[in-house]
């Protein structure tokens, strides 16, 4: 069963994001919302960790949260997909279950 993991904490402040990556199965999807959106930027202390997870998982970011934090989409790690709220809804519908990493 494919699962959508929803992360809303900055990977630079909390371990929730890292814990999510450690517990997501191959084929799962991960969406970064709220403060987690800062994890989308390439060249950070976290980006290699996220890239490793992207080998067998799909990663998305909520575009509004990224823009609100002053990060343009061209700074994102290659392969991350920016989505709007409608795209977020589609992701929840396309997966069997969801899990929030508070």
């Amino acid at each position: 069963m494919a699962m959508l993991h929803i992360v809303n904490k900055s990977p630079f402040e909390k371990v929730a994001f890292e814990s999510c990556l450690g517990h997501a199965s191959a084929g799962d999807s991960i969406i970064m919302i709220e403060d987690a959106a800062v994890g989308a930027i390439d060249g950070s202390a976290f980006s290699e960790t996220l890239k490793a997870a992207m080998a067998d998982k799909s990663v998305y970011v909520l575009a509004g949260d990224l823009a609100a934090r002053g990060i343009s989409q061209d700074r994102m790690i290659d392969g991350i997909t920016a989505v709007d709220y409608a795209g977020f809804v589609d992701l929840t519908a396309d997966n069997d279950t969801t899990q929030s990493w508070l």
């Binding site: 699962m3 199965s25 929030s100 990493w101």
Partner: protein, 134 residues
């Protein structure tokens, strides 16, 4: 009513925030509806089930004994992640001795705590139908 596989994921220490206590409340509600319930204790969530909790110094109710009652509500699957314990300098000996009584085996007391590594925890999470995070 149909039965679904519910997992409650506990990732926070008790008392500092209300998450642990709220999780316990919802677990008991789900049990009342005869659902197939599993609990996961990862990251700081493992502190919820340490033994010897004493809250007299902080003026809060010690709710750790409530975990011992879970077996009476047919909640017998408490998955604890080995890596989370080890990262915090803890072992299974630091956890409460939580048990359930198996009515199909002359009410024999059996351990509720199931020690798993991160890969096994990932597999358990993947088979759930409903996941609630606290």
């Amino acid at each position: 009513m149909s039965t679904k596989k519910f997992m409650f994921v506990n990732r926070k220490a008790p008392y500092g925030t209300v998450y642990a206590l709220e999780s316990l409340e919802v677990v008991l509600i789900a049990a009342a509806f005869d659902q197939d319930i599993s609990l996961a204790f990862i990251d700081d969530g493992v502190y919820q089930i340490t033994k010897g909790q004493d809250t007299t110094g902080i003026g809060q109710k010690n709710f750790s004994n409530a975990y011992k009652a879970l077996g009476d509500y047919d909640i017998s699957k408490l998955y604890v992640e080995k890596e989370s314990l080890a990262e915090r300098g803890l072992t299974q000996d630091d956890l409460m001795d939580l048990v359930w009584e198996d009515e199909d085996d002359d009410w024999a007391e059996k351990p509720s705590i199931i020690m798993v590594d991160r890969a096994e925890m990932t597999a358990v999470m993947a088979e759930q139908e409903v996941t609630l995070s606290f």
